[in-house]
Symmetry: C2
Subunit: 496 residues, 2 copies
């Protein structure tokens, strides 16, 4: 066996552990009886440990130097990904991995109670410990990869993503969004708000049928995936077995429906990755920005569009039958309400980026040492006031709302907003490339759009960088323009 | 870390892989979308390979020699189990493990088609290959553990079980069962067969409710387990997460109900194992004979008893309401019908052992080289005729019915019959030890019985041998007497 073949075998084994972790995590959130929680956490930690051991096995260092990938660009990219993953893994000493994992477990538990009680002081010591260890980890990886500490963190979720790319883009958003938001709010203030599509309660069985019908319609392969229920919607599972979840509210059909569409966007990406490389690093989804772009493209660009409402409203009318009237206009209006609120995950597409920009600025300052954890609540509330114009009344609705920082996920937040921008830019490019795209969506035909995404995004997997995929697909580097144009068009009828 | 601690850490990791294999297998049979089948098989093979690699890691040989378990009998038994598992694993060369795994996969696929077509010739070459490799494996393990080849196979499913123990017990059965069966059949011939408990169809939702109600009643901990549906009922899952399945037939409630009770028996054993040792070899269930004894004790000894019918019939009447009359007598009669049939898994408790004795004799002869695969159908049919008095009309109903041999599970069959004997002997001993046991069961109170089983069987896990557990619990070595007495009492009203 050549060094390259040995490495491919090693990473194929790692991919089986990835599948096991994916399925056991799905099971934990969807199926597991409550009494198994502690044991499941320990099982998952052991599997992660075995994965780390396989990745950092002594012989790999030499194999990664010796391996000759030949001329095939995919094999070359695969070796580069192997080297990147290996370099990140060996950069962090074992005792730091363990300390961080323990600190995050502790902080997560503390956070659950602290958020409920809106008591930031209770979380502070645990969060300080996580921050200190995360910074240590970021410095170690940064030194190994020649990156700044914050870039080292970004790179873990979104390979190749850099602060220098994000900051100017977010600056454009921070400048343009607040006035735009005020204009939209003023305009919606004057519009009729009466009327809902259909009449509550919406039977759960029919809501589920709606979700399944729509999933299949937009191209979800039910032979290689499932839809289930969990407390928080997610997309997970394993290779050839992509599992999405949503949650139902009998009084409102929209959260379950939009949740299912959002996760279906993630699932279509996973299902569109090239089969030939499915068990190798180069065959994986490129990173969190592109992943989020696929879910937001389906949820925000497609599902909340007027064209889609035109197709969806009659279908819903037929499905729900006795549940009142389903008008295209009402449905579309319900899906495009804007409101400056406190909670990130409940935010609409216009106000959402502000939540992210605030967190991006604050986490960089904390990693960089310019902002102390004890000063976080005040800084958080000030930034939210600047960007959204609202006063956070308590930390439960402010810096305590998200699990990311206690869980050690620093550098993760930007991908949510970058995903929204990417979605807008991709959808705009698809509209140029595919004649009659919107008309097709209006008839419920998403095949042309999916075909374009398959070719331009999904099929490329991790063979090139995120930025290269975006540029090749849209003809220009990632920016905020397409997103801002989309917002102006959808919410203010302004056409550039 | 001492050598003993290092070994305990290694086996704790192995137990996490066991959990992953258990849950991914459950998922395959209960949840998995069809398109994921091939990938799941490959994932499971990789996890098995990782488990084997952990068990046979180079340092383990020395650690197993050096380790000092001290005076604690559980720790000493744990080390002995580790040594046994390690010795079995290292005895078989890697190329043989792979060849056997491949041959079994091929034979299993061939078997599915061959059984459907009732075409033994189609299976023969694949089965010959599996047999040759299994024999090679048995010889290798036998040499390492100083066992005969067949004992080496038995020992893999039921540590400590030997041919020399089984043969005389089965001889007693083979001598006593055929005349007993004839007597019972003649007696049941003269009895009324009219009437069923309730009236079909039995709504699936109510059948499921019946299963769940009964499971909880007999002590299944729903906080640490689940009930689901699969094509073939089984008990699997992971530590603190025991998952059983059954299957429903709207026209007959008995298969689902008895299936659920049988698997609940397995589950109670798993749930009764000592928590302190749950991740170590000594903390696992002792072997397949005791496992099968627990499922059969609940299904055969308890659920099909007249006392249980007295408790169950009114409960069913209440649950099914509109589905006709539920009489204790009818219900009990339905659960104790005897018939000499071809299919092992459909057999009643009277005719079941005959199916096993036939397979035991034949597989020993094949492993020993006295019987060639090409002569199997004829030999199989002859033995069934001797023991059950019926003529097998085609191999689909004869030697092609079971998956065990194609799958490489030689030496597994005996545990089914030994489990039935053990169940009878344990239940008899419980009746002596717990005053009013049957009366309690008649009121639906299984706590006294479960308490006794917990102490005498479950809590001992793998700390001593199967035979020792049986002897300590019942006061004598395993034999056929209690089983034969049970059959005579239940089916012929003969009291010893």
């Amino acid at each position: 066996m050549t060094p390259m073949e040995k490495l491919e075998r090693c990473f194929a084994r790692i991919s089986a552990l990835n599948d096991a972790v994916g399925l056991l995590s799905w099971d934990r959130d969807v199926m597991m009886p409550a009494g198994a929680g502690e044991r499941r956490a320990s099982d998952l930690a052991t599997l992660e440990g075995l994965r780390h051991a396989l990745l950092t096995a002594e012989e790999n260092a030499a194999l990664l130097v010796e391996a000759d990938p030949g001329d095939d660009p995919w094999r070359r990219a695969n070796l580069a990904e192997m080297r990147r993953q290996h370099a990140r893994a060996v950069a962090v000493p074992g005792r730091l991995v363990e300390a961080l994992s323990e600190a995050c477990s502790k902080a997560e538990m503390t956070w659950r109670a602290a958020r409920q009680a809106s008591d930031f002081a209770a979380l502070r010591p645990a969060l300080e410990e996580v921050l200190a260890l995360t910074r240590e980890q970021a410095v170690a990886i940064g030194e190994a990869l020649d990156l700044s500490p914050y870039d080292a963190l970004l790179d873990g979720f979104d390979p190749g993503m850099r602060e220098a790319t994000i900051t100017p883009i977010f600056a454009v958003l921070a400048q343009n969004l607040p006035p735009l938001m005020q204009k939209i709010l003023a305009r919606q203030e004057g519009q009729s708000k009466s009327g809902h599509a259909g009449i509550a309660p919406y039977p759960l069985a029919l809501q589920e049928k709606l979700g399944r019908t729509m999933m299949a319609r937009v191209g979800f392969d039910t032979q290689c995936g499932r839809l289930d229920v969990s407390a928080h919607p997610f997309c997970g599972g394993a290779i050839r077995d992509v599992r999405i979840t949503t949650r139902y509210d009998e009084m409102d059909f929209l959260p379950a429906f939009l949740g299912a569409m959002h996760e279906t966007g993630h699932a279509l990406y996973e299902q569109g990755l090239p089969k030939a490389w499915e068990a190798q690093p180069v065959g994986a989804a490129r990173g969190m920005t592109l992943h989020e772009s696929q879910s937001l493209l389906l949820e925000m660009q497609v599902t909340r569009s007027e064209a889609f409402a035109k197709f969806a409203a009659p279908l819903m009318q037929k499905l729900f039958g006795d549940n009142g009237d389903w008008k295209t206009e009402t449905l579309h209006r319900q899906m495009t309400q804007v409101k400056a609120g406190f909670i990130r995950v409940d935010a609409d597409e216009v106000t959402y980026p502000a939540h992210i920009i605030a967190r991006y600025d604050l986490e960089r300052a904390m990693i960089g040492g310019q902002l102390a954890v004890r000063d976080l609540p005040e800084a958080f509330n000030a930034r939210i006031k600047e960007l959204l114009g609202i006063d956070v009344p308590e930390d439960r609705l402010g810096c305590l709302q998200d699990i990311h920082w206690p869980l050690g996920l620093w550098g993760y937040f930007p991908c949510y907003a970058l995903g929204a921008l990417t979605a807008a830019q991709l959808y705009e490019a698809a509209g140029r490339a595919v004649p009659g795209l919107e008309a097709e969506i209006g008839t419920g035909n998403l095949a042309p759009l999916l075909g374009w995404l398959r070719e331009k995004v999904h099929a490329r997997a991790s063979s090139v960088s995120t930025m290269r995929i975006i540029e090749d697909a849209t003809g220009r580097p990632l920016g905020a323009e397409a997103y801002l144009a989309h917002i102006r068009r959808r919410y203010l009828d302004e056409v550039a």
